[in-house]
Symmetry: C2
Subunit: 196 residues, 2 copies
């Protein structure tokens, strides 16, 4: 691990907990044990560091889910893989300040366009991914053809992000657990074709 990676490793959770404006250069030098000279030798400025820290947080919290979905066969199985991944999401991110996409979306919308756009794109990718899973399921006769893929993708992602937020607010993973159970037993169940 080189110095840049070391800095990101130490700093990424801080950015996610305290936000972009809430994290100062002295927070960063304290956490790394390095000086400002070292920081600015490895990153062009604070925004550059924040952006790469966000990418690291995403690669730890969300990218594994995308990879898991990619290697899972079948639309219904992909959906179950998502809810299953989310069940352990609270433990995964609780010490890092919760869901990075959520944090940056709220934090950066009105004062860091570049950072916000990155989070926005990630959210779009998530929505589109869900939509395509459902559409593919319809094409492959796994999912009823009368299911609205876009609508249901929006509903499911809303539940994922909302339950993540509320578990985070109340230190209660049951918001996620209950919501994922609901997605499994009610939403995904309603996707299934009636057996003849």
């Amino acid at each position: 691990m080189n110095t840049s990676e070391y800095i990101l490793d130490k700093v990424a959770p801080i950015f996610n907990r305290q936000g972009y404006v809430g994290t100062s250069l002295s927070d960063i030098t304290n956490a790394t044990g390095l000086t400002k000279g070292a920081i600015y030798c490895n990153f062009s400025n604070k925004e550059d560091l924040a952006l790469k820290a966000f990418r690291l947080n995403v690669s730890l919290a969300i990218t594994p889910l995308f990879k898991l979905v990619a290697v899972t066969e079948g639309s219904l199985n992909k959906l179950y893989a998502i809810t299953n991944y989310q069940r352990s999401y609270y433990d995964l991110v609780k010490d890092r300040g919760g869901c990075p996409m959520l944090r940056v979306s709220v934090d950066a919308k009105f004062n860091n366009p570049l950072l916000f756009e990155t989070a926005q794109n990630l959210s779009s990718k998530f929505t589109l991914g869900l939509t395509n899973i459902i559409k593919d399921g319809i094409l492959n006769n796994e999912i009823r053809p009368d299911i609205d893929a876009v609508k249901n993708a929006k509903i499911i992602l809303s539940q994922i992000e909302g339950s993540s937020l509320l578990s985070f607010i109340h230190n209660d993973p049951d918001f996620i657990i209950s919501t994922m159970d609901f997605i499994d037993f009610t939403i995904i169940e309603s996707f299934k074709k009636v057996k003849i």
Copy 2:
């Protein structure tokens, strides 16, 4: 409207858009046209101002919903009143920076315990309110007795907050609309007793 109210009126949307640390005293003096002397004559410090600004944001965005629910008769009607209120929520808060409960929860958790606790209590009140609506519905024979009130309250609130966030991220009120339709036609519908 006295000076304190005038300041809060001007400053509350800024706090909600930029967050607590993201809003400086000069932002405040610029927005109000007043000087620091006037601000500190009306509020003891920045945290005091932020807390009261949060309360104002809540009183404009969320309190009306609580009042609407209070004057609505019947558990199912109360639930429909909530989803109906949410349908116009995006327009209600879009210029003010989104849902204040969501904003402060994310923003204040690790650097402003007092502010965070206020948001946390509000969220608890919301969860408890939903739970009691469902419980009352069961007692009054409006809702099936096998419905888990706490679980469903958590699920519904997750959907409300999550869809609000995503509409806010994508400037697309349809996240809220689709999710509220889903709550109406699937969740609340499943609460209803089967007609004999």
